[in-house]
Subunit: 195 residues, 2 copies
DNA sequence: AATATCACATTATGATCATAATGCAATAGT
DNA sequence: ACTATTGCATTATGATCATAATGTGATATT
């Protein structure tokens, strides 16, 4: 190696971090590589030694963001349980900072349009998050994975709605409604036998 | 008027319909005007007599798609109630055809990045949908609007997740989990007094 | 000290982007 | 029949897109 031992790795992680933030903030398709590289303190030409293509960067930075989210979730669960984790997810702070928040809430429809490989990687990381939630559901809950999926879906939808509407008041209402829904879903109660 | 009375209007609606489908299918940022115009049987130049800008087209086609959705929801509610409406929303058919499906599920994160005017228009149409759901909740439901918001959030989140993951089996599971969650949420039951 | 190597910069490519100016052919009003 | 109007096509603009070829300066190895 001619340069510092870890220099390339450092650049690479910087690119990935900048990209993850920009993708979540502005969307994948709307984010150009030139801007990402500039924000990382580099130029156009330095991109391809690090990644094969934009799709490659998307895949890796998405995975990295999801792993970080998994760690943060673990901390929240450890310190305050599901209640705290859900409260943090539907907080105004999270709503107002999509760049550093949940990649699912910021990017799900775009992820659905990515390559099968990217979606397979997303699936893997998603299941990790869902398992983490499932393990922290109340003791007697049935169909833990299913309930956890339903809770996560409600959280994602509520956060997205809160970000999309105009008007802080309504947006706050949506966060509250999402929290109510999530709370209702985790109450242990048997299903599948209505009417 | 020198041309057929309704010719310009016909072209305009064709552009809007094509655009609404393409935006939902490929995303707003990823959809170019040239392609949209070609699909509408016209060329680049014919765009600006009809719309002031791409943002203008986004706003109008989004509103149109939401109004159509509102009508379809009304029909479903009338013929089969909330159960049918929810089942249709989380059906494999809806999952597999985002171009003609729910604009919220296909575009929410991108809508959140649009101008305040566009988001205000989205807010208006969203509230219409939520009111329609609220009116069809079971008789004794409290906080009808809040519950309806929670249900819609869960539906949107589940549909997006089902579209993003790789693997039909898992995707079907997510649809089922979303349906379970929505069903659980519409069971009349008092809230706000846990623990 | 010399040299080989590599991270990154510079610059180039051709496509596509949103937007705009101009041109033309068709028709409605006279 | 003439003419003014207009819906759309043609073509142009400059920006930005992802990707790629080439250049260069710093340094680790020798």
């Amino acid at each position: 190696m001619r340069y510092d031992k870890g220099r390339k790795d450092a650049s690479r992680s910087r690119i990935m971090e900048v990209a993850a933030n920009r993708f979540r903030g502005d969307g994948i398709a709307a984010s150009g590589l030139a801007t990402i590289m500039k924000d990382a303190g580099l130029t156009n030409g330095a991109f391809y030694p690090h990644f094969q293509s934009k799709a490659d960067l998307v895949r890796e930075s998405m995975a990295s963001a999801l792993e970080t989210q998994s760690q943060q979730l673990q901390q929240a669960l450890a310190s305050g349980g599901l209640e705290l984790a859900m409260a943090m997810y539907l907080s105004p702070e999270h709503r107002d900072h999509p760049q550093t928040g949940c990649a699912s809430a910021a990017l799900l429809p775009e992820i659905a349009r990515q390559s099968p490989e990217t979606r397979a990687l997303y699936t893997e990381k998603l299941l990790t998050l869902v398992h983490q939630l499932a393990k922290n559901l109340p003791p007697r809950t049935r169909d833990r994975e299913g309930v956890a999926l339903g809770v996560f879906a409600a959280l994602i939808g509520a956060l997205q709605l809160a970000r999309a509407v105009e008007g802080t008041e309504l947006s706050d209402c949506i966060l509250a409604a999402g929290a109510d829904a999530a709370r209702a879903l985790i109450q242990p109660r048997q299903k599948h036998e209505a009417s």
